[in-house]
């Protein structure tokens, strides 16, 4: 045993940090989706009564953090650290949301994988004893992402069937130490991913760009821990969408491993296929809100015992796409277990 590491890249948390409380907020389309009723707050006006879309996203993140903190009756100032990320250039939605909190802050960028990244970094911080109460949060907003990555909203463009729909949503989790018996979920392992690139250049097919990263990280985590997909109640990838999910199953089937029975994808869970989202949802807020609205509650009440959240991110920028670069992708995984009390 080499410290807390096991196998190639998995980190076994010796004193598994707890997830004490969480909150998910979403926009209009998310409210109309299958998980609509499970959100803590939804904004039918996705401008959130602000003057710009960017301010609206900041608002989403602030609401998510304060609701999560409220649930464990902590003032935000009692947090040791905020680990936050979003899709905007220079990570501004997170930085502006953290402005005024007076809490030490780290801005993270992992594209749509950010929620798993912030959870994993936070869990390591807590297990290492560097912090006792950490808030992990991620957000995205359809309108800010479209403006940055694609076209103006009123531009008449056609989306291809493989395109994904950026969620207008945020999710926040409050992590505490292993000693916190009130917290219903714990994080036992984390696995930081490697950048994978199999040469996909189509920015309208991000699921395809990210599936190899998801495979790589999940494969590493499973073999490092000596577990099988069926040892988990669910393996939830973040935002592979329809196309990427099929590709992930194909990649595993090359190893004669069938994950289709336990695999699901946050991008497929967040929206209904009738909602005209093409291949499914995406964006940091997608995995973050599905985790906080749908997965953590099921772990908390014991409907699920152990799951993997493997959130994936496509790490291109508008500039790199215009310069013809292929799309590098990443996937970070965390293993979440039910049960705070021993």
């Amino acid at each position: 045993m080499n410290g807390k590491r096991m196998g190639m890249a998995t980190i076994r948390l010796e004193r598994p940090p707890r997830v004490r409380a969480w909150a998910a907020v979403g926009g209009k389309k998310e409210k109309e989706g299958p998980l609509g009723a499970q959100f803590d707050a939804v904004f039918s006006d996705t401008m959130c009564e602000e003057t710009t879309w960017e301010k609206a996203e900041v608002h989403l993140q602030k609401v998510a953090v304060s609701m999560a903190a409220n649930k464990c009756k902590l003032p935000i100032s009692a947090l040791d650290m905020i680990l936050a990320g979003d899709l905007l250039g220079q990570c501004v939605a997170s930085s502006y949301a953290a402005r005024g909190t007076q809490v030490p802050y780290l801005g993270l960028y992992g594209a749509c994988s950010t929620m798993a990244e912030s959870l994993a970094v936070g869990a390591c911080m807590v297990d290492g004893g560097f912090a006792q109460r950490v808030c992990a949060v991620a957000s995205s907003h359809f309108c800010t992402a479209e403006r940055q990555y694609r076209f103006p909203l009123a531009y008449g463009g056609q989306r291809t069937p493989t395109a994904q729909w950026t969620a207008t949503a945020a999710g926040a989790c409050i992590l505490t130490t292993a000693a916190d018996d009130c917290a219903p979920v714990r994080i036992t392992h984390v696995c930081f991913g490697k950048v994978c690139d199999l040469g996909i250049t189509d920015a309208n097919n991000m699921g395809a760009a990210m599936a190899p990263a998801a495979y790589d990280t999940l494969h590493t985590l499973l073999s490092d821990t000596g577990t099988h997909p069926n040892d988990y109640d669910g393996i939830f990838t973040g935002d592979l969408g329809q196309v990427g999910s099929r590709l992930l199953c194909d990649l595993f089937s090359r190893d004669q491993v069938d994950i289709s029975a336990v695999h699901d994808d946050c991008g497929k869970l967040l929206f209904d296929s009738k909602q005209d989202v093409h291949a499914g949802g995406s964006g940091c807020g997608c995995a973050a809100s599905v985790l906080c609205a749908h997965l953590l509650p099921q772990l908390a009440d014991g409907r699920m015992k152990r799951i993997i959240l493997a959130a994936t991110g496509a790490l291109m920028s508008p500039t790199s796409v215009q310069q013809g670069e292929s799309i590098p992708a990443i996937c970070h995984a965390v293993v979440l277990e039910s049960g705070g009390k021993r």
Binding site: M47, A154, T168
Partner: protein, 118 residues
């Protein structure tokens, strides 16, 4: 009859463009740019004028028609004022469209608010 011709020719030009969008990696901006240049070339070699005579707005409303307007303008201006016409003819002929796009674009920005898609 002119209406039917306009509908069919305009429709065919758009439907063919749809093949480019769906089947190639060309982005809309590239297709439009190619169309305008194509319009200039087709007009220069005398192929587009007959289509305009046949289909009217069916040939002038698609963006290839914008290239047609530019090329026809240059041709007329060169005949009238030589080298100077090279630089004035195109934009002069297209001035109405360009100014309208700028003006109405600005007006749209001033009068309306951005909205989310649903």
């Amino acid at each position: 009859m002119q209406y039917v011709n306009a509908f069919i020719v305009g429709g065919v030009i758009c439907a063919l463009s749809q093949i480019l969008i769906d089947k190639t990696k060309l982005t809309p901006a590239r297709i439009l740019t190619a169309y305008v240049v194509l319009g200039v070339i087709l007009t220069a070699i005398g192929l587009y004028k007959p289509l305009v005579d046949f289909a009217g707005a069916g040939a002038t409303v698609p963006l290839i028609g914008f290239g047609y307007t530019l090329a026809e303008g240059v041709k007329t201006a060169v005949a009238e004022s030589g080298l100077l016409g090279v630089f004035t003819g195109g934009v002069k002929a297209a001035a109405g469209g360009i100014s309208a796009a700028v003006f109405f674009g600005l007006l749209t920005a001033l009068l309306f608010r951005p909205a989310d898609k649903s």
